[in-house]
């Protein structure tokens, strides 16, 4: 009777909730919330409760697969790794390192992401390494790094229920996307904190808000500038903070003064009086936290939106104190960590630029290699295009599913089909894996040791509870085996703890991280530069990472594609609480799938009756790039003229409709705005 509980971290969103896996005689018998966890505090959302449901699904890949014509053949690790090594070496020597692309994964551990970028850089001398952070918070990293010098969430989740007196939530469906962060917000609200929600959809948290404002999608810069206009003209700005901690206020005012509430109302549809009330509420209740997610970043103006948010927080002195700040909620369990580990084309671990000679020298010495590439590599969407143009010949994709998550997926598929060689490492035969030449079976979150870094820079241990099915292996082990087969040095690790030791040596903000400390202290929040440093709950305390905070004024620009006569609706995409991303895990978890088994479109009843739609009924949704069919759901919680589709469903992939128009800086696609037409089908 061996009953024990293993403490680990939920594999879904970036909140980083703690949970126990209940083990009886080596078999998993259930999940328990971790009562003492600082974020989840003994609570979980439905995904957390069901986080282990897919682990023993019959679709799990037990052995490597090698493509034989149209079909896959099971193969030994020996055969599969030999083939991958041969092909990558051949393509690299024939076309050069720039013909290779590597996708790391926000689902994998820090250690695995570190190894992936090390493989790309030290092994193949290319910076073509990226991951799905590109599709969520690349503008955050770019925008906040420019304003503050650090691109991460400034504050910590537990502060919301302890300190925050006002929340400004925008572009975050918090109760569905980050339920346990919402839990802290709801607690604060119960204790009297103010809640402002600004979002084109009146999502659940919007219905609970003190003030809810409903802007036209894609007009965020306008209303953000409008809030600042009100705050400045009514004398609510924090003058002392502006003078002592920031630079560039005059330039900000030059831009912001062109956004009086009346003009903002014309652009955004937010009534002037409501905008003023919101501005006053935010400015007068300190500490105030701004919380945002994909609704801000997934735009061609994503970086601009983030800059405006940074401006607003600086203007009111809401930085460097507990419970305030600019708080981008990261969508994946380890998207923060994958970025921290340098799984990005422009930076090494801890955001050390690839172009800096001293950094290059340091890493060449540490990795015992020469000639690390200085040129910035390709981003996800650029890699896919380069594949289509024949410039990228081979790709190694670890635990990502771009064929459902990338914009304009029909085009993405055609591009990936051009590759000479595609390796996909995953736990299921995902849409992307089905296109691969070699599929390597990885281990799921509960089947390996490692660390995840949650959205509030919280580094936590994930622990192995079960062995992977069949011959599947932990992703770090697979990368090491491949590297050894390629004859690379520096990949002979005994385990993740040893990999983290190397990370701690090379990544300054992770300098004090060790498994021993994590086991003892539970978590560490970076920057934690040395073993005796306690970690950093909130950033920019006395001074910004870059010294002074910099106001970065921006003007409103329209979205790339606006509705017209032919495509009269704005489509915006997002999440449902019951599913996650491309559904590879949640759709194989019975209790999650039964809640939301089929794709749907949310549409305002006025629009629906104009189009003669029925509920439930089927519609066809058409954009310039594709069309899908799904079920209707009428709701008054969306603006007329706007429709919403969750992006989890392969059978009606929202990303068949979206466009690959990119933010010029962060290269994020505009998932949140594109023009579509809605037609009823099968109705008389």
């Amino acid at each position: 009777m061996d009953y024990r509980n293993i403490l680990t971290v939920c594999p879904y969103c970036g909140a980083g909730c703690g949970l126990y896996l209940q083990m009886l005689d080596g078999e998993m018998v259930g999940v328990l919330p971790a009562k003492e966890h600082p974020v989840s505090q003994g609570k979980l959302c439905i995904k957390g409760w069901n986080a282990a449901a897919f682990l023993r699904h019959p679709d799990r890949l037990p052995r490597p697969l090698i493509r034989q014509g149209e079909r896959f053949q099971e193969a030994s690790w020996e055969e599969a790794l030999r083939l991958v090594a041969e092909q990558f070496r051949r393509i690299s020597s024939r076309y050069g390192p720039e013909a290779l692309g590597f996708l790391a994964s926000a689902k994998c551990t820090n250690e695995e992401n570190y190894l992936m970028q090390k493989l790309a850089r030290a092994g193949f001398k290319t910076n073509n390494v990226d991951h799905c952070a590109r599709l969520c918070h690349a503008p955050t990293v770019a925008g906040l790094a420019a304003a503050f010098g650090s691109g991460a969430m400034t504050n910590s989740t537990p502060e919301f229920s302890q300190h925050t007196r006002c929340f400004l939530i925008t572009g975050s469906n918090t109760t569905e996307g980050h339920p346990l962060i919402a839990s802290h917000i709801l607690k604060a609200k119960q204790q009297g904190a103010k809640l402002i929600v600004i979002d084109p959809r009146q999502v659940q948290i919007g219905r609970l808000a003190d003030i809810y404002l409903c802007p036209q999608p894609g007009t965020d810069v306008a209303w953000l500038n409008g809030l600042m206009y009100v705050i400045i003209t009514e004398g609510l700005a924090d003058q002392q903070f502006i003078q002592t901690r920031t630079e560039g206020f005059d330039q900000l005012w030059e831009v912001v003064q062109q956004y009086p509430p009346d003009r903002v109302a014309q652009i955004t549809g937010i009534p002037a009086a409501q905008l003023q009330t919101a501005a006053r509420m935010y400015a007068q209740n300190k500490p105030a936290a701004i919380i945002y997610a994909m609704g801000i970043t997934q735009h061609t103006t994503g970086t601009d939106n983030v800059k405006c948010i940074a401006n607003l927080a600086m203007l009111t002195g809401n930085l460097g104190i507990a419970g305030a700040g600019v708080n981008p909620l990261r969508g994946q369990n380890n998207v923060q960590g994958a970025c921290d580990m340098g799984a990005l084309p422009n930076v090494y671990p801890a955001y050390q630029p690839v172009s800096a000679p001293e950094v290059k020298a340091k890493l060449e010495a540490a990795w015992q290699v020469e000639g690390l590439p200085e040129q910035i590599g390709l981003t996800v969407v650029e890699m896919i295009h380069a594949a289509g143009q024949g410039n990228l010949r081979a790709m190694y994709i670890m635990a990502e599913n771009p064929l459902l998550s990338d914009p304009d997926i029909h085009d993405a598929r055609q591009c990936l089909e051009q590759l000479e060689f595609l390796v996909v490492q995953d736990i299921f035969l995902s849409e992307t894996a089905q296109l691969a030449d070699v599929v390597l079976p990885g281990a799921a979150w509960a089947e390996k040791d490692g660390t995840f870094t949650a959205t509030d820079r919280r580094i936590q241990r994930v622990r192995k509870a079960l062995p992977p099915p069949g011959e599947a292996k932990a992703d770090w082990e697979i990368i090491c085996l491949l590297a050894q087969r390629l004859g690379l040095r520096g990949f002979d690790f005994a385990g993740p703890a040893q990999i983290m030791e190397e990370v701690a040596r090379l990544a300054p903000s992770y300098g004090g991280v060790s498994y021993e400390r994590l086991d003892r202290e539970g978590f560490l929040q970076w920057p934690v530069p040395s073993p005796d440093h306690p970690g950093t709950p909130y950033l920019h305390k006395e001074k910004f990472t870059r010294g002074l905070g910099r106001f970065l004024p921006v003007h409103f620009q329209e979205a790339a594609e606006l509705p017209d006569e032919e495509y009269p609706f704005i489509l915006t995409t997002g999440r449902s609480i019951f599913q996650f991303h491309t559904g590879t895990m949640t759709r194989r978890s019975p209790k999650l799938e039964q809640e939301a088994p089929e794709p749907y479109i949310e549409i305002h009843p006025e629009d629906a009756s104009r189009l003669g739609l029925k509920m439930p009924g089927k519609v066809r949704v058409i954009s310039r790039r594709g069309q899908i069919e799904l079920t209707t759901r009428f709701t008054e919680q969306i603006r007329p003229g706007v429709v919403f589709i969750p992006f989890h469903y392969a059978e009606a992939a929202a990303n068949a409709l979206t466009q690959a128009a990119l933010d010029p800086v962060a290269k994020i696609p505009e998932y949140k705005v594109c023009a579509v037409r809605v037609e009823p089908i099968g109705q008389s």
Partner: protein, 275 residues
Amino acid sequence: MKENELVEILRGCAARKLPELDGLLGILRTTEGAAPYVFHHCEELAGLVLSPRYPLGGIVRVLQARYPKARLGVVVRACDLRGLVELAKRGQVAPDRLYLLAVACTPEEAQHCRCQRPVPNPTGWPQVEVLGSPAAAAEAHPLLVQNERLGLAERWAFWRQEFAKCIKCYGCRNICPECFCQACALEDPLWVERGILAPPFPTFHLVRAMHMASRCVGCRQCELSCPAHIPLTVLYELLRRDVAEMFGYQAGEDLSAQPPLSLSLTEETTPLPNP
């Protein structure tokens, strides 16, 4: 008695009893945290603690199903004991093979939980040892009093707002020591529409409250695991009082007392048929 003194006494009792048992279920604290664990060796008992509280009834159910013959010890609080009593009445645990070390909660703990019944009541349980000194019942939840004072419209305004926060995690049910049905009415689309946040008309919460009416033992685990901080136990406590007043029944107090009502004709011990 302070909690640390109590823990010492508990460890002593556990060490004395452990050799006669096939395992002792309690909370183990390690450097990583504290969670339920089955102790086998006296050396391990240095890690045996009393808090945080985890619901143990469900774990006992799983362990007894796998090891029907085992003699299992369980460290319980008053509420855990009540939970096991109700489970035993419904055929979910076998009391004759369970040895209970029942610990009375300290006055601070009772206060913290607003517990009305912090002292274990072992009436009818075959093998049980009660430790600790009895603490007085705490004051009732202020919302209980408030709810009685409010008019219907105000009550609705309050509960409507509370239920609007629900994110349908099913945590209240998942953590509940008394919820063991294979097929749950809350997941049945006939009663609760699937896939909508918050669950629209409060059928979710009212169905659950009715199912708790003669079962809820007041352990508060549901409330503690609610991400939306809905004061669920206020509703359950109101119904518990009604059941006590109408039928003279107190859930978990007496192993021989039979539950006065069954909620639907498909009894709790048999799964609901799929529609």
